[in-house]
């Protein structure tokens, strides 16, 4: 049997990384991050864009007093400069040219963050000097949020309805423990992504919210794939005493690890493209906002489906009496093997991975070879053996 590098083992789905065994570590990390995020929500809040908070709208004539036509870009950059003189951190919003259908002079409207009357006056003066337009033609007006509170409220209601429905679906499709684990992982993603936004102070725009909602589906997608494998690996697990539920879950996570990384990469590539173009070439705007939130959120989604959802599941499962008894039985049997009462299994020949957790010896010593056929799977009868009975040399030799 070839001794392969990590990349190769990843490819084969047998990286054999002990993820479930270190679940306490992940929980602590997650808890700390969540606390930091919530602390940031409370103390630092969010940087809301003009679309949410409203702001000041400037009207600028399209012609200078010298009769020269201004372009949208010229106006936009001039307003940007003018606003920056009063508030260096301010970003301007949408710039539009407005023309009456019945003819008349065209003008530009530019959205800027909320300014005080004095600031607006100063910005206006700068603007007039900069563009060479008539002072009386430039006006400023307060504009409300384009994204009303009602939109947010309805979106939140929608989110809650969705969570209830998806919970019900997952309970039917899997079981309630998996549903709880999946939803807690989803919530973790959302909280952490929002936390990054709050902490770093990225501006929240409608595009950000849209991107945020996209994470919903993506994050659950990842978790469902992992849980699907867990469910397959653990079907009828109590009938055998080869491995504990946690070990089977760990196996599933390892088997889907490459897939998780692959899909994460495949999904992040176009997002990276967006981010590169949006932030790199254009500086700011829709593309950057969307790219950023997706990049952060999907990143968390990939990590949490591996490091959080599965560990939560195994922690919940270990509380179940049936699984608890089964784990005890497996461990008892294993120590008996070690003391020589029972013939060792093929798995023994594999080198244990050193781990520190309580379960480590158990997990490592007989950790079934990842990639091996799960013992308790349907259709095992093809080889004439009763399915789920376990003692099959599944490690070193391949049935053929």
């Amino acid at each position: 049997m070839a001794r392969n590098g990590l990349a190769d083992r990843l490819y084969q789905g047998e990286a054999n990384i002990n993820i479930i065994g270190r679940r306490k570590t992940w929980f602590i990390v997650a808890a700390v991050l969540v606390l930091i995020s919530i602390g940031s929500f409370v103390f630092k809040s969010f940087e809301l864009g003009i679309e949410f908070a409203g702001g000041t709208s400037f009207s600028v004539p399209a012609k200078t007093s010298a009769g020269q036509e201004l372009t949208q870009d010229e106006v936009s950059s001039a307003v940007d400069r003018a606003i920056k003189t009063v508030d260096p951190a301010a970003e301007i919003g949408a710039v539009q040219q407005v023309r009456s259908t019945g003819g008349g002079d065209a003008y530009f409207t530019v959205r800027a963050p909320d300014l005080t009357a004095a600031q607006a006056e100063k910005a206006k003066a700068t603007l007039v000097a900069d563009l060479g337009v008539k002072a009386e033609d430039v006006s400023d007006d307060r504009v409300s949020a384009a994204w009303g509170g009602q939109v947010t409220r309805q979106a939140v209601i929608g989110l809650l309805v969705f969570l209830v429905l998806v919970m019900a679906y997952l309970v039917v499709r899997f079981e309630w423990r998996m549903a709880v684990a999946a939803l807690s992982s989803l919530l973790l993603d959302l909280v952490l992504t929002a936390g990054v936004y709050s902490l770093v102070g990225f501006e929240v725009t409608p595009s950000t919210v849209i991107g945020f909602l996209t994470i919903l589906g993506y994050s659950l997608y990842d978790v469902v794939v992992v849980f699907d494998k867990v469910q397959e690996n653990t079907r009828g697990i109590t009938a055998s005493s080869v491995r504990t539920y946690s070990e089977a879950t760990n196996l599933a996570v390892n088997q889907t690890l490459m897939r998780s990384l692959n899909t994460g990469l495949v999904a992040l590539l176009p997002v990276g493209g967006l981010l590169f173009i949006g932030a790199g070439l254009l500086g700011a705007g829709t593309l950057k906002d969307l790219g950023l939130v997706l990049f952060v959120g999907m990143g968390f989604g990939v990590i949490s489906s591996i490091m959080f959802a599965a560990p939560v599941l195994s922690a919940l499962k270990d509380q179940e009496p049936k699984i608890k008894a089964h784990t005890a039985r497996v461990l008892a049997r294993r120590s008996a093997v070690r003391s020589g009462d029972v013939a060792p299994r093929a798995e023994r020949q594999r080198q244990p991975n050193s781990t520190e957790s309580d379960e480590a010896p158990a997990l490592a010593a007989t950790a079934p070879r990842p990639g091996a056929r799960p013992t308790a799977k349907r259709n095992t009868n093809r080889s004439g053996r009763p399915g789920g009975a376990g003692p099959r040399p599944s490690g070193g030799t391949k049935r053929r």
Partner: protein, 628 residues
Amino acid sequence: MHPGRQLGVLGLVFVVLYLLVFFGGGASGSFADRLHPKLGLDLVGGTMATYVASVQGGQVPTKDSMEQARSIIENRVNALGVSEAEVVIQGDRNIVVSLAGKSDDQLKDLASAAQMRFRLLIGVTGDVAQSALNPATATPSASTSAAPSTSTSAKPSSSASAPAVNASPSTGGQGGGEVVKAPSPSTTPSASATPSATATPAADSTAAVPGQEEVTPAEVQKKVGAAAWAAAQKLTAPVDLSTDAKAGLAYSAFGKLSGAEVNALTPDMQFNIPTISCTQLDDRPNGAIDNVDTKVAACYNGAKIMLDKAPVVGDDISKASAQLDSQNGQWVVSLDFKSEGQTKWANLTRQAFQATSADPCYVAAQTLYSSIEHCAVAVVLDKNVISAPQIQGVLTSTSQITGSFTAVTAKQLADQLNFGAIPVTFTAGPAQTVSATLGIQQLKAGLLAAAIGMALVAVYAFFYYRLLGSVIFLSLILSGLLTFGALVFLGRTVGFTLTLAGIAGFIVSLGVAADSFVIYFERLKDEIHEGRSPRSAVPRAWARARRTIISANTITIMAAVVLYIVSIGAVQGFAFALGLSTVLDLLVVFLFRHPIMTMFANTKAFLSPRVSGLGRVLRRAQTEAKEA
């Protein structure tokens, strides 16, 4: 199913979609024109209109009512289609609405008031038969009307304060000496002479009446002459012209009144005077029949009708929705009332349901519908009687308005009901065109980002999956084409507009679509790893991967549907796009990737490591088999 057949189905989907793109849903213009998706405000600009709010007394409207009006207008805008329109409050009293593309017509009615009233039908008479009278002059026309139109103030008048109130002898009223005696005992004027704030008519562009200032009954009396006025006042029931064709002659002067002048008459006079036509009644100013405390005259199905006070109004409704009645396949509007409104509604329906054949409402309902056994309640929206259904029971829970609704009209009514009433009146300014906020440069950048993203995915796919990467690549192109076709078609039919955020969303969703392939392929690797031949591994891997893909996509579709139904505005647009791309992803997975893989598995090339990227797995499986 045979792989070829699945590909055939996909081909059919393609052909149908693009036939729709080129010929369906009101396609017009050259073939190139028909291929344009409807782009959003940020990319191509659009039309902008400013609505100026006015409150009685010329005060500044409150922030709350402006915000409320903003959200109502936003709702109306969104009801036009899945477009991401923008509605903002500017300054103290302006609401600015921007829509993508050329849409002046759509912007016109956005700020008009919608007042819902439920009134018992208590009288019916025929519309004036114009020809029976004096054909030359009976038709009222604005030009011949002597309406005092010196003042052209656009300020909405409080014409909704029904003259019946002002004319009451006890309150004096503006009529001075011309005290109008209520012709019928049932119309004792109500003491509340203050016009309700919500009854203010909208002086918006829809108002077709020239010179919308208040006309006093005294002016009308002067116009029609004392004799006709006195005769009209004595009427206690509509004059039946069919029995006495000449009976109308005494009132012929009333036939020349303008809508505003007709409005100055008491509702009973409007109803009883045979020469006042439906055309005149329809010409009354907006808000003419809004007053909940008086009876009103209106028209329905070509008949003049008399309606009782309105005990139930639009504000009593908590939710209205359009539904398809499963029993008779008709569209109905289902109503849920607020708790207080429910009581009022139950009382009204009890009154209608328990009426005996002697009740005026029973007689009226029988005149309108010959086969009716209970009274009818008219549903009045602004100036129009939408429907006057027979009440078939005391309604104590959700109720339905039936009528000859189509899916569209039922939805429209439900929307209007939901919008409720705007607490302030708006005047629409002229429509203006606005340029794109982002423009072509950003659009190009977005497309460039798409190209880069797709190229990265393709490179990765080829690197990792070798030739199988081409399956990913092809299916991405396929998804892209399907999405594009769907966007063009939906842009025309449901008004789905594509913003830059939308484009970015679709780019991302294509990346996520590649995901389902990865699931499939990793599954395939597992199966081969376990020692299956590639040929037998494909169907097994498919069976398992299918389950996973369906579960995962079900969740996404669920998110899309819930958000689409519940949310509004930009979020709704997003949900639509999400649902669309997920459904298309499923389509491509089932009708393209799977059959292609099945066909691929039957070729020799599939077994070659260099081609399929399965090499290492295969080699290993073989080595292990030898070792064993």
